[in-house]
Amino acid sequence: MSIPSTTRSGLYPAALKTAFVKLHPRALIRNAVICVTAVTAALTTILALRDLMTGAPGWGVTLQIAFWLWVCVIFANFAEALAEGRGKARADSLRATKAETMVKLLASEDSPEPSLVPSATLRAGQLVRVDAGDLIPTDAEVIRGVASVDESAITGESAPVIRESGGDRSSVTGGTRIVSDSLILRIVAEPGKSFLDRMIAMVEGAERQKTPNEIALNILLCGLTLIFLIVTVTLDPFARYSGIVIPVVTLAALFVTLIPTTIGGLLSAIGIAGMDRLVRANVIAKSGRAVEAAGDVDTLLLDKTGTITFGNRMADAFLPAQGVAERDLVHAACLASLADETPEGKSIVDLARRMQPELAAAEAGGQPVLFSAETRLSGVDLPGRTLRKGAVDAVERFVGHRLDAALRARVDEIARSGGTPLLVAEGDRLLGAIHLKDVVKPGVRERFAELRAMGIRTVMITGDNPLTAAAIAAEAGVDDFLAEATPEMKLEYIRREQAGGRLVAMCGDGSNDAPALAQADVGVAMNSGTPAAKEAANLIDLDSDPTKLIEVVLVGKQLLISRGALTTFSIANDVAKYFAILPAIFVAAYPGLGVLNVMGLSSPQSAILAAVIFNALIIVAMIPLALRGVKYAPGSAAALLRRNLTIYGLGGLIVPFLGIKAIDMAVSALGLA
């Protein structure tokens, strides 16, 4: 679900307004570095006003410094508001689906007469009936009936999905709409605790708690702030000893430019934006912790079906029996499959048509024989021809005799390679075999190679026998596979990996996946899955797309990289600020210290002002990076470190020298100082 563009353009004025609202002390106190900046700004403002009233010399510069210190605070608030604003737009559209309705409450499963009650009064465990056209009031489990449900409000997917009692498709989500038939539901969510409520809270950032790494980084930033407080406070006695009296405003300017305002101001925006990236990938994180953990994942457990392969076996080759022309086999297989609507059937027709273009004109005719569990055959009865295809033993039974040795060898070869052989027969004559194969999705192999370069092991989970699994694993290029996997085996595998110090991510949907999902460090449940699976997981994929696991890992990594890059950048910036402000303060007493003015800034006043302005503007300049995230190209940690250290470390050293010089030129040209 995308946010309408009109809402987005309205984001900026709204965020700017919120930036001022966030000046409230209660909001400021949540961010230590910015809070300290605000206190310093307030102090400077008082001094500036005093200077203004007494007409003290240099009041103009003091006033400007105070102004830019406030700008710094506003920009930091603006970044946070902007990040939150993106989530709010989506939350509003979600809230619209949470309309108050009357629902049909049932006293028991078989009670014929429902009583109408407001949806807000529903409690977990109560039974309700929903009919075609009704909104599903809150999260529930289907206990009777089959119906199609439109989940587009949650997932953005317009095609309705089937929901039925029992099995893994029994859960329905509040805010979705039933489009056919009727269902009897047992409510599973208490009021205000439904999935939709959680999702709204999540995207709004209202329930956003700081993640462990964010807390640690915050401690570091507070520590640095304290150190720079010591540096500036002790500078006053040292200067007095040297016969220099530093104006308090100058010390304030030095202090604010040294403390890590860039990362301090953008830290929460980075976190919110990271969650927002997940939301836009249609993944709901039940905690921020899971997103961080995703970046640390060492082992990915991937379901074969749907992630690695297309999920359906597809015809790969036709292998004629001895004495049969390939052309005849292809022709017969195509005719026998024209009426077959299963993916396998379609794939046989596709392959046949690709091999023999004249078959494009062939149309289903005669009497189609549909697959039945009893015969395990399908085909067509044409005038004078009886064409059948099916599993080896079923076709053997149909033709009434066994395979000859040559065809048997080919069939065995197919099985060994991990494929499924189908036999094609006309009457009692065996024409040959079709090789049905699990087709590995294009690009999967390259993706796994990328993951390997990032140090992530991929493990394929499949119910296939080990032989088939090994063949597909080799073709897809996974590092390991788990064949004939049961939920217990998955759990065991995860525990073993974790015992070796590895972090494991997996996805699942069935109730029997729940223990493994809970055990995994990052568990992604499919939205189509059972409530138990969704409860056990820490991420929920609304698209129910198992490939999403890889996206989640990348989002997690990008979040951490953005944080690290901006922190490094912020700290590296300090070098230039020292070289701007220190000579400005000391040059009057020690003219020799003019050598430290490597930027050749025009005057002490303009140097200090330029440093303060740079400090404020760099926050705004970095907002897009914080919201978008640092560009992440998969690669080894060594390559990433080299790249990011060059851009953000070295860049962080150099950029402020250029920036402060440019601002100084502008400031002195405009006569501001």
Binding site: L220, V231, F238, R240, G295, D574, G594, L596
Partner: protein, 561 residues
Amino acid sequence: MQDLLGYALFCAVLTAAGWALAAHMSGVFAGRRNLMSPVLAPVEQRFYRLAGIRPDNAQGWKAYALAVLAFNGLGFLALYAILRLQGVLPLNPAAISGMPPDLAFNTAISFVTNTNWQAYSGETQLSYLSQMAGLTVQNFVSAATGMAVGVAVIRGFTGPKGAGLGNFWADMTRSVLYVLLPLAAILGFALMLQGVPQTLQGAANVTTLEGAGQILPRGPVAAQVAIKQLGTNGGGFFGVNSAHPFENPTILSNMLQCFSILLIPVAFCFLFGRMAADRRQGRAIFAAMGLMFVAGLLIIWWAETAGNPVLNAGPNMEGKELRFGAGLSALWAAATTAASNGSVNAMHDSFMPLSGLVQLVNMQVGEVIFGGVGAGLYGILLYVVLAVFLAGLMVGRTPEYLGRKIEGREVTLAMLAFLSMPLGILGGAALSATVPAALVSLQEAGPHGLSEILYAYSSAVGNNGSAFAGFGAATPWQTTALGLLMLLGRYAIILPMLAIAGSLVVKSRAPVTAGTFPTHGPLFVLLLVLTVLVLGALTFFPVLALGPIAEQAALTAGQSD
């Protein structure tokens, strides 16, 4: 050029010797037998039995820290008592009276914390008993304490999950028995061969060539000099330390002492790699320290050989022994400030301001450029934690070092430790630059006076012990303030680092993959150096600008103040 070749040879020999010593030490601290075991193991075992120590009983970080504090606390009380009572105790041929309380407080702390700041002059204010039973004992055990804590911290970073940090009493005993004593014996003997006195007789009364009488103080010098260098103690037998011809008579004795200053700290880098079972990790730390050391050395060498631009009279020889000249004095100055030793063979006060700047930075970064024995390594690990935490995020994982995650607890403790340097140095020096009772200690006003204050406080908090000669440290204000700050500089690092080690050792170690932040290559070395310089040194940039930088800038501009 001759100097530079000498430096290169010195560094090569030092690296080789440090590498070899690390091999020996890794066996010692693992409790394995070595060449000396046939002789020393019975001594060790008997000591354990007498003291009721079970050497294999690994302690958690709290128990280890408590043992350190208890042992050093008792050491302080004993030393304080000896210093106060030396007038009535034996082995006092010069009839020296007891030390005043504030000076004894300062001196006792100074030797227990491995600082060896000397606010007194040894030959006139200490009896032989104080020198031998007081100071020399602490020279051994304060060094051994540093080594034990260093080893314990390494175990926390590298040991198997859930293991303890080792046994303090065993680590300390083994440091003394198998490392410090044998090395000190060898060095002491070598120094005696070079002419350093080792006697219990009183001062010699001699008649000079001119016929005048002269009193030459002497005593058990060689033994104390050996351990003062090996244990990064630095407290000399004589007031002028290794500039005195009896403490440091020849070029060879000078090189031997310089080498001994850095030997164990260098070995600790390689020991780290060995204990981590990944020697590249140790080499990376060695490379980072080595880079910073050589850079500092070259700056000092350049400044001293170029001399004072105002005088234009060749190398700066003020305050230097003619025997050693600018080259060897520069090497010693770099080594003694980098390694938290504090002994001197020239007067640092008289070095060029630029050299003074390097000496100050060496100490202010927290004595992590090789640093004190053991202390340098746990000090640099503090920076490693910060560097890994800051830059580790940039590879897209929560930061980890040697497979262990650096999380909130580690960062909190690291910042706590990290705060002690600016708080102690800047806070202490700022008070000293303001309070009249403190200002009387200064020999000079202006930037050089500020450098004197700054040097004293950097030296105390960094547990270095050297001083700018003009600084009068014996006032009650300075003895008390510096005494307290020596405590801060020692234990405000030891306790958080042990806590970090204790927190890391219980974490499971993630296996190394292509996604692991590499902590052994040149890139990490560069990152570590930059972290030390940007976080450590930059904090002091403003005050350094007012002190040595202003002084140097004035000199360059041709003004002498």
